[in-house]
Symmetry: C2
Subunit: 133 residues, 2 copies
């Protein structure tokens, strides 16, 4: 749902289904890992953690909200940097202990280093392509 310039996507809430929320298995700290994937090209951008409150806010606002384990607070991705994520879909896995969030990433990318993806380094001493097969 981007505008013709593809610059300002709309935030689109997802209906909160209480029955579905019961399928999410938060860990002993009340958290679940959330993988963030760009819907435009399926690049995996980052992984962060959600508690139930941040998951609800993510669904309700159509923006990604996470729980910071270092700062002990909720944060909305891009609220400071402008590198916002607009949620297009949100899935949960077979065990309910991992989330996958499809987003439109705006700005320079998801990583605080300035890279588009947090996964910009590969193992191996041979040069390997940064992306793709």
């Amino acid at each position: 749902m981007q505008n013709p310039e593809h610059s300002v996507p709309d935030a689109t809430p997802i209906d909160v289904d209480e029955e579905q929320l019961t399928h999410v298995a938060f860990n002993a700290d009340g958290l679940v890992p959330a993988i963030v994937q760009d819907v435009s090209d399926r690049e995996v951008l980052m992984l962060a953690w959600m508690n139930e409150s941040s998951l609800r806010r993510t669904l309700e606002t159509g923006r990604t909200w996470f729980w910071s384990r270092s700062r002990n607070e909720l944060w909305c991705k891009g609220e400071t940097s402008g590198d916002r994520q607009y949620v297009r879909w949100l899935r949960y896995d077979c065990d309910g202990d991992t989330l996958l969030v499809g987003v439109d990433q705006v700005g320079k990318g998801a990583c605080h280093t300035g890279n588009r993806t947090c996964f910009y380094r590969s193992f191996g001493t041979q040069p390997r392509p940064a992306t793709g097969p």
Copy 2:
């Protein structure tokens, strides 16, 4: 590196670089989450956990090895089911606390339910596309 029938990919080890391994930040339990992505179409297939031993075996064998938190043992994906994963690249994120593994998935898929991906359910009461933007 698949054969002409695309049925039996080769296992291709990745050189183990000890300096790179020092960048991986295992948690208090000695584990790090590993996202598995299919290199053919970039579908996110699953998330499982690796300890240092399973990470080394993954690099050395070119197959995915994980640590089972429920069984307290190393396991090689597909060794029982035949639904094996052949590693094409392995990345680590900016903080070193998450891995991303690009694989050729063979067999019926990654999920024990018989689905190709573990992320086969979406939040929301409106029907949403199973994949893609």
